[in-house]
Amino acid sequence: MSLLEIKDLHVEAGGREILKGVTMSLEEGETCVLFGPNGSGKSTLLSAIMGYGQTKVTSGSITFKGVDITYMPIDQRAKLGIGMMMQRPPNVIGVKLGTLVEVTAKNGKGKTGREKEFNMQDFLNRDINVGFSGGEIKRSELMQLCAQSPDFVMLDEPESGVDLENIGLIGKKVHELIYGSEADGSKSVSAFVITHTGQIMDYIGAHKAFVLIHGKIVRDGKPEEILEDIKNNGYGVGDE
């Protein structure tokens, strides 16, 4: 049994079909990357796996740990062990980041008090994401994920908007999140990571890659080979 199995998934967003029959699976302990041109539906796929309301599954199924989660509420998916770093998380005015981290740790398996590792000491008392820079949002999301400590992490472009200095920190923390760290006794988990440049792979490697074009998985295989191919030949399609 695969950890995550998606069968012929059709998903609508904004009244339009975005995913047009996605079939794929991801095994326990695997780190997979997802490539695809802008607008191909990568974020939509993660959003459907997490269960966000703006994506509507019209047919097909999503199974996680053998449980059909296609229409399960988001928090139950989180409790089953799915974690997510959104590409563009919303501002939550009036709610302090520290409050969310605390509640997250209580619901999850991770710990609080790690803000120093993420260079986020000054942010716990700030409203979530309000006025955060691109890189700060990524660090904040990662810190939240560490407090949650999910069995399966989905990361939507973890390296985009991060400067050359911070990419080291992000890379290291994503590595710890996926492969565990001796320091806090966390174990290795599975991951699904969207990346355009493949830069994050320098830090975490990857077992498998998928390519999504026009709402369909058109290819899967070795990550390095596929990335090389995309770098040399592009996707063979323009922006959608």
């Binding site: 269960g51 966000y52 959104m86 919303p90 939550v92 009036g94 709610v95 509640v103 619901n107 409203d127």
Partner: protein, 404 residues
């Protein structure tokens, strides 16, 4: 007090207020003028004490200066006021200090509406708080207004004077004793803030399902004066209409009004504030954050810019968590001179689904996520709230969510 003609007062007794539904004063009896005298606050009966704590008035601390009114008469007044503070009932003050006449029915016109007229006609008592010039009070001054007689009117007339270069924090809690559900509270407050003086006034209201409430507040501000008004209504209430006005008459005076209300099912709340920026470089910030759980909620705000360099911002925002009531946001801006900067923001609607889902991603249930966002919405952007208020807000939100 012959400033007003008795005929005009009588005419005003029928005068409907500018806002809010009309209340038939004839429905109510007089409130009591003979009430139990409480020597020491800690001896207050348990049920009353609980009510007082609910509205932020504590009795355990001997250092706090407290006045308690039950219905129409004073029941307790701290005997040893801190240095620089004079507190007593309004009637006593008028008798004892001839100069108080200059502040008595001065900024408030009794013919404003039937509620002020009634208060004038009854020659109502209330609390008098005077901070002598130059004194910065260390401990907050507490006042508690309690309604204890069902089907009666509580009529109060309060005067607060903060002398030049003085400062003071006040917490006023208003509440009902359980059997006095269907009653009317009318409170006229005249506040005067001297040069470079400041007053922070936090008012917490906790009434009952049928209580009607009509506060009437005017604040007169001298040069460099500073006024902060926090108004909080978290519990179910029958009908509230309140629209305090600040007159910024001295150069550089600044005021801020923070209003926070929860309109439960069957509650009808019409609140807001008004600032007259009458002097150069005055500033005002009016923030109103409200939640409707099916009640009627009107959030008003009015800025009147009459002097150069006046700067003010107005924010009326309400979240509707349950259908059933009507929610309105009514911001008004008015300027009589070009060199003013006045802006407003108004919003009515539900919580962004995206925010709820984001928190659910971290394992919070939908209810938990909504509570957290609502809590943040209510207190976010409002600073300087008393600590214990945060707890009350949490409790009220949890209670309201349970009732769904």
């Amino acid at each position: 007090m012959s400033k007003y003609d008795q005929k005009d007062i009588e005419k005003a007794l029928d005068k409907k207020a500018a806002y809010g539904s009309d209340i038939d004063l004839g429905r109510y009896e007089e409130g009591d003028y003979e009430v139990e005298q409480i020597e020491k606050l800690e001896d207050t009966p348990d049920d009353l004490q609980k009510k007082m704590i609910n509205v932020g008035v504590t009795s355990d601390d001997d250092n706090k200066d407290t006045i308690l009114f039950i219905d129409n008469a004073m029941s307790h007044c701290s005997s040893k006021a801190q240095e620089g503070l004079i507190m007593m009932s309004t009637r006593q003050a008028v008798e004892q200090y001839p100069w108080v006449k200059d502040y008595y029915w001065n900024t408030m016109d009794p013919t404003k509406d039937k509620y002020t007229a009634k208060t004038y006609q009854e020659d109502s008592d209330g609390y008098f708080v005077y901070v002598k010039p130059g004194y910065h009070l260390k401990m907050p001054v507490q006042t508690c207004m309690m309604l204890s007689k069902n089907k009666s009117i509580q009529n109060l007339h309060n005067i607060i004077i903060v002398g030049d270069d003085a400062s003071c924090d006040m917490v006023t809690g208003c509440t009902t004793v359980h059997h006095a559900n269907d009653a009317l509270h009318v409170g006229v407050s005249e506040m005067y803030i001297g040069k470079n003086a400041s007053l922070s006034f936090t008012m917490i209201h906790s009434w009952s399902e049928q209580t009607a409430v009509r506060p009437r507040t005017n604040v007169v501000m001298d040069q460099g004066a500073n006024y902060v008004n926090n108004y909080v209504v978290l519990d179910p209430v029958g009908n509230i209409q309140s629209f305090p006005s600040a007159y910024l008459n001295g150069e550089g005076a600044k005021c801020s009004f923070n209003t926070m209300c929860i309109a439960h099912e069957n509650s009808n709340i019409d609140t807001g504030g008004c600032a007259y920026l009458n002097a150069p470089k005055t500033g005002a910030e009016l923030v109103s954050r409200n939640i409707s759980y099916g009640g009627r909620m009107v959030a008003r705000g009015r800025l009147i810019g009459n002097a150069p360099g006046a700067k003010a911002h107005l924010e009326c925002k309400s979240i509707i968590l349950k259908d059933g009531g009507i929610t309105e946001a009514i911001p008004e801006l008015e300027a009589s001179c070009a060199d003013v900067e006045m802006t407003h923001e108004a919003a009515v609607g539900k919580i962004a689904q995206e925010q709820i889902e984001y928190l659910m991603t971290r394992g919070l249930t939908e209810d938990e996520a909504v509570s957290m966002i609502v809590r943040g919405f209510l207190v976010g952007g409002i600073s300087g709230l008393p600590d214990n208020l945060q707890k009350e807000i949490d409790l009220a939100i949890d209670k309201a969510n349970e009732g769904d």
